[in-house]
């Protein structure tokens, strides 16, 4: 279990979601272990020992957005409610604790909140996330909360501007220092058509890793596939895209076997996209600016209240169509294929981006980068417009 502490500490550093000196991870088997920043490690252990869980991550996010959300929240509110699909589906909401709630020993009150939810924001401390069965699960939940608070904060700033002292400066630092140019430069893609099984498995694993390294997905969200003949090779559900070796299911297109029951929840969407496009590869990631911009709808007086599920309009972000549809059997597989057939790319409301490649992953990856870059540019254009 000690190796898990090290593995996920390194992942938090590599994905730049936490300060390298502000990470602690705890795990309990028959004994409890905790490692990392001493104060946080003590807190992680104290919280974990109060819960029926195996793993715990306590880390200071690399961006101050979660704390800003807490500080911006009106008095009396106790949770953040981001509107992205991941939060809506898996987190529901994110409870928070203000500094004034913590007292001398914050562990009991944090444990009480974590008894109901997968992750909480503790003002001045960071994000605390539990993993019921594994340390990896705690890492995933930390990653989800980081993603959700990022999306929520940027949406809030777009709508309401800066409110708190220091926000504008922190945001400027985020823009100039944390954000990096997003490109596909330096990445090598196998030229298609991809036909051999081993070649396909290797290329999927490689491109999956690229999507994580370039920040196009949080490591456990998103999926990737390649069709060769009558087989769709697709990443498994809950698979980390930067670690796909052994986690790719070859699924027959005629459903003559069900061992692909472990395939991504978007298997049906991938199948329908292949049918609609004749493409050879599909990438699906959750790049943050595309998620944010997909929820910026200018429609006024619309009667639809459940935009994620019920909106039947096709909007556009530049030349990329945006459609609604929930995960899996929730409608995404019905709405994306017709929208993606022409432009070879599509965004799902609050969720992420699908792109296709005609023979290999190079086009699909470039399209994913391009959509996110357009959304990033558009976000800042609108923000500057709003801030004057």
């Amino acid at each position: 279990m000690r190796d898990q502490v090290s593995v996920y500490t390194n992942k938090l550093i590599a994905d730049r979601s936490a300060h390298a000196q502000g990470i602690a991870i705890a795990a309990q088997d028959d004994v409890l272990i905790a490692g990392g920043a001493p104060d946080l490690a003590r807190l992680a252990g104290d919280v974990l020992s109060r819960l029926t869980c195996l793993g715990m991550v306590v880390a200071c996010p690399s961006l101050p957005f979660a704390d800003f959300l807490v500080a911006r929240a009106p008095a009396g509110e106790s949770c953040i409610v981001p509107r992205d699909t991941e939060t809506r589906t898996f987190l529901h909401d994110i409870p928070f604790l203000r500094r004034s709630d913590l007292g001398a020993d914050p562990a009991p009150v944090i444990a009480r909140l974590l008894g109901s939810r997968k992750g909480v924001v503790v003002e001045g401390v960071g994000i605390v996330a539990s993993g019921a069965l594994t340390v990896e699960q705690a890492y995933i939940n930390y990653s989800s909360v980081f993603h959700s608070t990022f999306v929520k904060y940027l949406q809030d700033v777009l709508h309401h501007g800066f409110i708190l002292p220091g926000e504008a400066e922190a945001f400027a630092a985020f823009r100039s220092q944390w954000l990096r140019p997003l490109t596909d430069e330096g990445l090598a893609f196998r030229s298609g058509p991809l036909a051999e099984r081993d070649e396909i498995l290797d290329e999927i694993a490689t491109v999956g890793r690229y999507t994580v390294e370039r920040g196009l997905v949080d490591s456990f969200f998103g999926n990737i596939s390649c069709r060769a003949g009558e087989v769709i090779y697709i990443s498994q559900t809950a698979a980390s895209l930067d670690s796909l070796a052994g986690c790719i299911d070859p699924v027959p297109t005629d459903n003559s076997s069900t061992f692909g029951i472990t395939a991504s929840s978007e298997l049906l969407a991938h199948r329908r996209i292949y049918e609609a496009t004749g493409a050879a590869t599909i990438l699906h990631g959750h790049p943050k600016f595309a998620v944010i911009m997909s929820m910026e709808c200018a429609e006024e007086g619309c009667a639809i209240t459940d935009c994620w599920k019920e909106c039947d309009r096709v909007r556009f972000l530049g030349d990329t169509p945006v459609v609604a549809g929930e995960i899996g059997a929730g409608g995404l597989a019905r709405r994306v294929p017709p929208a993606i057939a022409g432009p070879r790319k599509a965004v799902v409301y609050g969720h992420g981006v699908f792109t296709v490649g005609e023979t290999d992953f190079a086009d699909a990856f470039r399209a994913l980068v391009s959509v996110e870059n357009w959304c990033r540019g558009e976000y800042f254009r609108r923000l500057e417009e709003r801030l004057g």
Partner: protein, 579 residues
Amino acid sequence: MFGWTGTILNIDLSSRAAWREDLSVELLHAYLGGRGLGVRLMRGFHALDPFDPVMPLIFAVGPLCGTSAPTAARLTVVSRSPLTGTIYDCSAGGRFAWRLKGLGVDALRLSGRSETPVTLVVTAGGVEFVDVPELWGQTVPETVAALSGRGSVAAIGPAGENGVLFANIMMGEGNSVGRGGLGAVMGAKGLKAVVVNGDIPVAVADRERFDRARQDVMRLFRASPVIFGELGIAEYGTPALVDLMRQRRMAPTENFRHTVFEGSANYSGPAIRSAYQAKKDGCYGCPIQCKKSTPRGEHLPEYETVSHFGALNGIASLDVIVKSNTLCNELGMDTISAAATLSAWGEVRGRFPGGEEVQRLLVDTALRRGDGELLSLGSRRAARALGRPELSMEVKGLELPAYDPRGAYGMALAYCTSNRGGCHLRAYPISHEILRKPVATDRFSFSGKARIIAIAEDTNAAIDSLVACKFSFFGATLEEYAELLSAATGTEYTPQSLKEIGRRICLTERFYNCANGFDVKDDCLPARFFAEPGSSGEGVDIPPIDRGRFDEELQKYYRIRGLTPAGTFADPDFLLTQP
């Protein structure tokens, strides 16, 4: 009262008396319902012989039964198993649970013994003891057909009447209270059937909150490839696992001598759909509808059944497997134990039964005649009687289901720590070791598994007490079900508080078992799994399980549970510390 009714209906079959009692709010809050409530109500009776007339047979519903909470129209039946000697519970769907709750009761507690075959009919008008000598000896479908006009039926078949140690109680819609032989307990009471027909609605404390939580659950169902995925159980039923187990090389074959059966494609989910034009079927009110049946309503077998009547006995004929399943349902016998007992018996005699021979032996088992007399005792007793105890593939006398423990080490541990014997459903590690839900774990590693198994046992004990279907948790989590429960009852629950309740239930069960002599010696797999490899190939190695590592992890489990190295309780007054 919201969610619960606060009432138990007691029936004494000896005196043919019936009376209602209040259930304390404290008890309901602390044990929820279903398995938890039933286990708590067994306190003081847990050391009785399963066939003692005083032994209770408890049908308990949960606080979500009667609401629109997904997959919660279920009940649990609790008693002591004649097959294993352990405390025993089994969850079942069908209309019966809903109709029982509709009588304004949370539990039905049966005790005593009727001198003559009797059926219990409970309606809003009261309790009726109906003598049914003409139904004794009838199959389950015949019995259900005779009684269904009066309400929802739970009945035993000839197997239960004759004391087959793995006899089921069958629900009228085809669901079964399976595995541990509670059908034989019912038969020993002279009780052929129970019919219930209530329709009192269940009050929900906060309808808006409840509906929101229900939407959250349904969203997660739709996001789950195992539930609503195009290759998932809603489409193909649990036989969707056949191909996966073959691919993972952990399909028990020929009494666990091998782990790959080349004929398994004959009974895969797609094969069954194609051969029988399988249509969706399932428990009352369940959105998943994972059961499958033929167009004329014949229930098609589940994964464990197809695999055990198939690979475990070396049978590749889907027709034989389906007929065997139907026969077990009609006779009221557990398919896993029946098939596993046949397989052990087959290995002892050097030839596995096939084709029509299987069906003849199943009938003989239910009627306890010929070879069936021995087979009716289950694999442990049969193998011992034949001088080959090592060929019985069970834990605590409960035959192992269709997940070879050499292919999933959490499963290996969970079979042994399960309080009802070799069962896959207590900790259900297949969920994470194979199906990757909620996260994937390394199936060939023991690392962390002791804690994972303990947590999962607690979680599932809570689920069994709600009572919800475990398949829901391939998508949803206790977060959403705690919200449903809080909204339904008006009492606040969290995932953490539910797991603490689950822990209380698991430890209570363990305490009962220890009181009946169970300890570390009973928490072990058959020697075959530590000595013989499975069927390696296609890049997957299936070695024997490392006994040293297994024992180490078992001791970790005991420490996590607060038990002694012998797997027992240091505190003899443990029960007195519990509500």
